[in-house]
Amino acid sequence: MNIIISNTSDKPIYQQIADQIKDHIMRGALAEAEPLPSIRSLAKDLNISVITTKRAYDELEKEGFIVTLAGKGSYVAAQNKELLRESRIKIAEEKLFEAVAAAKAAEITLEELEEMLKFFYEEA
């Protein structure tokens, strides 16, 4: 598992860690029930403070991506992949809705909007 930390990023380090672990879980690189490194060993390997890794794990736990058992460590939580995908689809739908509303306000045609969407989809 790769975790790359940037010190110059505006994103706090705990967030960078949480996001990357989340991605690993989504892409299946970290499987269900797989143990995660302890907060202390992860802090050592990333050369950052224990409090930072702890906060990343707390965040992941709050969002249901991992579970922590006292004295045993943290594991990748049983993920409902279907549910994860659904929630991501919902986010995309909401953003699209916003884009449509903005387009209508600017009198952009559906065709023009499709053009834009196509461009961004291929560029992103």
């Binding site: 505006d10 706090p12 380090i13 705990y14 202390r40 060993s41 802090a43 050592k44 050369n47 950052i48 403070s49 224990v50 409090i51 930072t52 906060r55």
Partner: protein
């Protein structure tokens, strides 16, 4: 959370300097950085903890025990690295080590040998012939070889090259793999702490300015740069250590809200390093605002 070290209302007065009624505690399992410019009271505080100086007032307890009443027990469990040499100059490192080892209950000769090898310590040389870096490494090897529960280090990295410094920081991480141990690390080279410190205590002119997690400190502070006209508004009140230049000002905002308001008004905000925070807080005291 259990505290490995607790200091309450500690006071010590010298001519021209007072360590003024300071209180703080160290939770176990973490690395705490003790920062402040030279002459702020870092070494005085550490000497008082180690009972190398007599306190005027206050309480110090280590592992829940009074540091004077239980001095020998407490010291057995502390690894101490001090920036001045406190060994006998005429002994060789090997002789000195044997002498010191006999004082500890949990001396681990194997561990010492492995650190001595790792640090490249010339054990047959006299202490007085060791370079400053070697003396620090020698004292660190000793501090790490008796299974100490608390490492107290006064400026351990000053005068050491970056390679050794980074090795030492690695070793500190090793120490706190055991969540019952703690590290208290004084330094004015704050870049050593930017990454690894969990808590930061800043002392200035004998008083504690703040005691927070490093992440909180970095997140709530921002370096602000902006046009001089902003200083004529009420936004000025949220700035610390303002430095005016010909083309604009530079200062520090101590909260997210203040930084956001300043950015809205046309300033830029940057993430600070610990050194910036130390600098701006002490600049305020210099009366440049």
């Amino acid at each position: 959370m259990e505290n490995i070290l607790e200091i309450r209302n500690l006071t010590k007065t010298f001519q021209g300097f007072t360590l003024n009624n300071i209180s703080f505690s160290l939770p176990k399992g973490f690395i705490t950085g003790f920062i402040g410019p030279n002459g702020s009271g870092k070494t005085t505080t550490i000497k008082l903890i180690m009972n190398l100086l007599r306190k005027d007032e206050g309480e110090i307890s280590i592992f829940g025990l009074d540091h004077i009443k239980h001095e020998s027990e407490v010291k057995n469990r502390i690894g101490f690295v001090y920036d001045e040499n406190h060994y006998y100059e005429e002994l060789t490192a090997e002789q000195m080590k044997r002498f010191v080892a006999s004082a500890y209950n949990n001396w681990d000769e194997e561990k010492f040998t492995s650190f001595a090898r790792k640090f490249g310590l010339p054990l047959n040389k006299k202490i007085k012939d060791l370079s400053r870096g070697m003396k620090v490494k020698f004292s660190l090897a000793i501090a790490l070889s008796h299974d100490a529960d608390l490492l107290i280090m006064d400026e351990p990295t000053s005068g050491l090259d970056p390679v050794i410094r980074s090795e030492i920081l690695d070793i500190l991480h090793d120490v706190i793999q055991d969540e019952n141990k703690g590290v208290f690390f004084s330094t004015h080279i704050t870049s050593d702490l930017d990454r690894i410190a969990d808590y930061i205590i800043m002392i200035y002119k004998g008083e504690i300015l703040f005691n927070k997690t490093k992440d909180e400190l970095i997140e709530e502070h921002a370096i602000i740069k902006g046009p001089l006209s902003l200083l004529d508004t009420s936004l000025k009140n949220s700035l610390i250590g303002i430095k005016k230049g010909k083309y604009g000002f530079e200062a520090m905002a101590a909260s997210r809200e203040a930084a956001d308001a300043l950015v809205k008004a046309g300033a830029t905000a940057e993430k600070p390093a610990l050194e910036d925070i130390m600098l701006f807080y002490t600049r305020k005291e210099n009366g440049n605002a």
